[in-house]
Amino acid sequence: MTSAAARPMVEAQQVCKDFGALRVLKGVTLSVERGQVLVLVGPSGSGKSTFLRCINHLETVTAGRLYVDGSLIGYRERGDKLYEMSPRDAAKQRRDIGMVFQHFNLFPHRTTIDNIIEAPVHVKGVGKAAATDRARDLLNQVGLSDKAEAYPAQLSGGQQQRVAIARALAMDPKLMLFDEPTSALDPELVGEVLAVMKKLAGAGMTMIVVTHEMGFAREVADQLVFMDGGVIVESGAPRDVLSNPQHERTQAFLSKVM
């Protein structure tokens, strides 16, 4: 076995996910190198969100293996047997994986700054003053330094999503997952969120992004993966896949969204 540093940040081997009798993921194999951005596209119901949720164990994988930074997600591997992980250990794994949701999911009863310091203070045990300093720094990075005391309901969708990104970053994750981060936004607000994500990618963050923004994929992604029906249909450099799709399902999908 190679050392953890040499392994990719995310490694999926034949990942399957069943919901009851329904198989949603039918053997997804891919890997994301450190500092890479992978964009996941596909029609709704293709399993891309489910795959993303498997990566931080919001869903439990039914078959196959999923590694983040060299460690198996959700299970302990001893010999050839797998042991279910305790909720405490699973929570520990999730701390290093940031997630941004389609509907932001900010805590509505807390101000912007309190949303951001919540997890560092109460999960990681960072001091409140240090966490607040870091939160102000992050708010500055996402361009919202004047909104520290506002409640989420008083912010626009784009502002809320930028706060949500800052909240995820406050845990210093080694991997960021974006689940359709701009799908719930008005068109004129999409740009401000994508700009923050581009900046983040430029700074070397490893990212997996589920999105319909093909312009973002073309510009930022190192790898584009097209999923349909729970399998990867086609993948490669975004320029190649977008301008010269090989598979007819990819062609049909791209002709509808571009």
């Binding site: 919001l58 994986i97 109460h122 990681k124």
Partner: protein, 305 residues
């Protein structure tokens, strides 16, 4: 060009009139006036007796006992209710089923029956001992020698209340969107921390109005503890006095006045609690925030001139 110069004159419209509201209000005030006049002149109401006993020390002591019963029973109900609700929603099947059986029993039998049962508790279990079964005893309490009807009344009311509070709290917890749980989980929070820091504070907004109802209802349900029997609370006390002086109506009015007064105070408390827990719910800005925005706006305009 300034904005002030171009802005049109404010609208000065004639307000819409509501003549029928005035007619309705006058009619109601007239009817209430007639009723009050009738009540004041009707000797059967016994107003002198009412005045004499309204602040009688036995009555005010009974009111204090009623308040204490309400407070402790509600506190017990609330704490146990939170525990039961969290148990019902927890992923642990043992906790879930224990909570279900508790609710089934305590909601499925009348509170009066439960209070009678608690009154008979010392007959059922004469002694409380702490020790190893069939082994040595460390602690010993003889229930028959204690006057514990006040405690038993609190236990009876509180355990019954817990079952209802559990359902109210469960409804509150269920009202919090699933995305909140996911976001907390994704941040690495444990299930319990998610409950405590994220879900319960948001559930409070839904929990408080029906809990206010329960509290007011509890205040009045304390009149049933005569079943234990505990007789020093407001209703039983005034009834006992009226039985001696043969004047039931004025003393019922005395009790009603006290209940109404206490309920009014509780309603004020509920108003402030609701205000506290509705933080961040409304998009409406506070007066302070609006002022700051207006200031920023006028500042920007001056810059343009």
């Amino acid at each position: 060009m300034t904005v002030q110069a171009t802005s049109p004159a404010g609208i000065d419209a004639v307000p819409l009139r509501h003549p029928w509201r005035w007619v309705g209000a006058t009619a109601i005030i007239g009817l209430v006036g007639l009723f009050l006049y009738g009540a004041a002149t009707n000797k059967a109401y016994g107003w002198p007796v009412y005045r004499k006993y309204l602040f009688d020390h036995r009555v005010s002591e009974a009111a204090w006992n009623t308040l204490q019963l309400t407070f402790w029973a509600m506190l017990l109900g609330l704490v146990l209710g939170v525990i039961l609700a969290v148990m019902r929603l927890s992923p642990n099947p043992i906790l879930k089923n224990v909570a279900w059986v508790y609710l089934w029993i305590f909601r499925g039998t009348p509170v009066y029956v439960q209070l009678v049962f608690w009154g008979l508790f010392p007959t059922l279990y004469q002694k409380i001992q702490l020790g190893i079964p069939f082994g040595p005893t460390f602690f010993h309490l003889d229930l028959r020698n204690l006057s514990i009807s006040f405690i038993l009344a609190i236990v009876g009311l509180g355990l019954n209340e817990a079952a209802y509070m559990a359902e109210i709290i469960r409804a509150g917890i269920s009202s919090v969107p699933e995305g909140q749980l996911e976001a907390s989980t994704a941040l690495g929070m444990s299930w319990w921390m998610t409950m405590r820091r994220v879900v319960l504070p948001q559930a409070m907004r839904v929990i408080i109005p029906p809990t206010g109802n329960e509290l007011i209802s509890m205040l009045k349900t304390t009149s049933l503890v005569t079943a234990v029997p505990y007789t020093l609370e407001l209703y039983t006390r005034t009834r006992d006095i009226s039985a001696v002086i043969f004047q039931p109506i004025p003393l019922l009015l005395v009790a009603a006045t006290w209940y109404l007064a206490i309920t009014s105070v509780l309603m004020v408390g509920q108003y402030y609690l609701e205000k506290h827990f509705s933080r961040g719910i409304s998009r409406t800005l506070t007066g302070k925030q609006l002022e700051a925005l207006a200031k920023a706006q006028s500042g920007a305009k001056e810059g343009h001139i």
